[in-house]
Amino acid sequence: MKTTIKLLTLLITGSMIFTACKDKNPGNGPTVYYEQQDQMARPAINTVFNANATDKEAFNVTVPSAMGAAFQSKFQARLLALNSAYTTNALTLDAKAFTTLLATDVLNVSTTGKTTFFDGTNVLTGRALNDDVIDVELLLIFGGPTGTGNPGLTSDHVNANDVAFSTTFPYLATPH
């Protein structure tokens, strides 16, 4: 009997608290949080420069301000494995300087001028839809100081998208 009363009291108290909560916060539950799963900025960095699944997963949840310390030396080893003859590239960056740039994976964007990954003049001022970003990266990895090294590896010879982009918002093409 005593137990029944206790249970009853618990039930009533419980439902009172529950009702009180509901009344105080109508339609307003606890704060919802979202936890990071994937991130990217420059194209093909995680896919090419992290060699194993553990590093790929870690890269996706490392804040950019901590990426350099965590990944630069691994990226440098990877670069030299991809191209053991690497000295400098067309941006005059040696292996350490180039991988320092790449390991902090943010897209540098100009808010005052042309936005392009590389257009022959502007370097890393954004990324436009028709930028041939893969050729730029292949050239910087394999092309040597003048960009003329390893000619078979510095362009994939796919120079544009398969369909044209729009000049008006939302710019991307209708799906296939």
Partner: protein, 220 residues
């Protein structure tokens, strides 16, 4: 010639180490995001047709074929977040958050706004600044909405990325010495789920340069 041989030997060795698995821009980049609504394929940031504006493109859920695109959906539990650093310390000063609401079939945009907390865990910041109905697959024209100077689109689009990925795989596997000419675009004919947000540049702060990165976050 000798140098070339050494290079290919090095590449082949890497292919062995990684099992030859090298993906694309960011499509299926790590096991835990593969085939998830959180899988980013690409980020684009460029000046708008109106050069006072900046355009942010987040593409997710890549390699959709015409047969699978109709069933692809945005996920209420996935937050798509553009991070903007405007003082060059690689820490976000502003975010633009995009969150799908299934009940209304709308993509809601929050920001650009200074986040209450930075890093890998986020909450929705402020109230929606713009929102748009998701454009269904097969629609003759994209559905676009503009509010507070912010334009937004959400829905399936052609994957704008292009790359002869198959030949790159062959090179890494040691079965090819170089790229083909002409190459073959492995992403031709495939679609992605896109969110496109265009905002006035004055809302981005900074002094001519910003750093941007794209994150997806999953409801805890």
């Amino acid at each position: 010639m000798k140098r070339k041989k050494i290079l290919f030997a090095a590449i082949a060795a890497i292919a062995l180490v990684t099992g030859g698995i090298i993906y694309a821009a960011d499509h299926i980049d790590a096991p835990s995001v593969t085939n998830q609504t959180t899988d980013i394929t690409d980020l684009y940031v460029f000046q708008g047709a109106n050069t006072d504006n900046m355009v942010f493109v987040a593409n997710t859920q890549g390699l959709l074929t015409p047969a699978t695109t109709g069933a692809a959906k945005f996920d209420e539990n996935t937050l798509i977040e553009f991070n903007i650093d405007n003082n060059n310390d690689n820490i976000e000063d502003l975010v633009i958050q995009c969150k799908y609401d299934a009940a209304s079939n709308m993509m809601k945009v929050y920001g650009p706004i200074a986040p209450s907390v930075t890093g890998t865990r986020s909450k929705i910041e402020g109230t929606a600044t713009a929102s748009v109905k998701v454009t269904p697959y097969g629609a003759s024209a994209p559905i676009v909405a503009t509010k507070n100077g912010i334009s937004v689109f959400a829905g399936p689009r052609d994957d704008p990325f292009f790359f002869d990925l198959d030949q790159f795989h062959a090179i890494l596997a040691g079965t090819a010495e170089g790229f083909r000419n002409p190459g073959v675009d492995a992403f031709a004919g495939t679609n992605v789920m896109s969110v496109v947000v265009e905002v006035p540049k004055v809302a981005l702060g900074g002094s001519g340069k910003i750093n941007v990165w794209l994150e997806t976050k999953k409801k805890v």
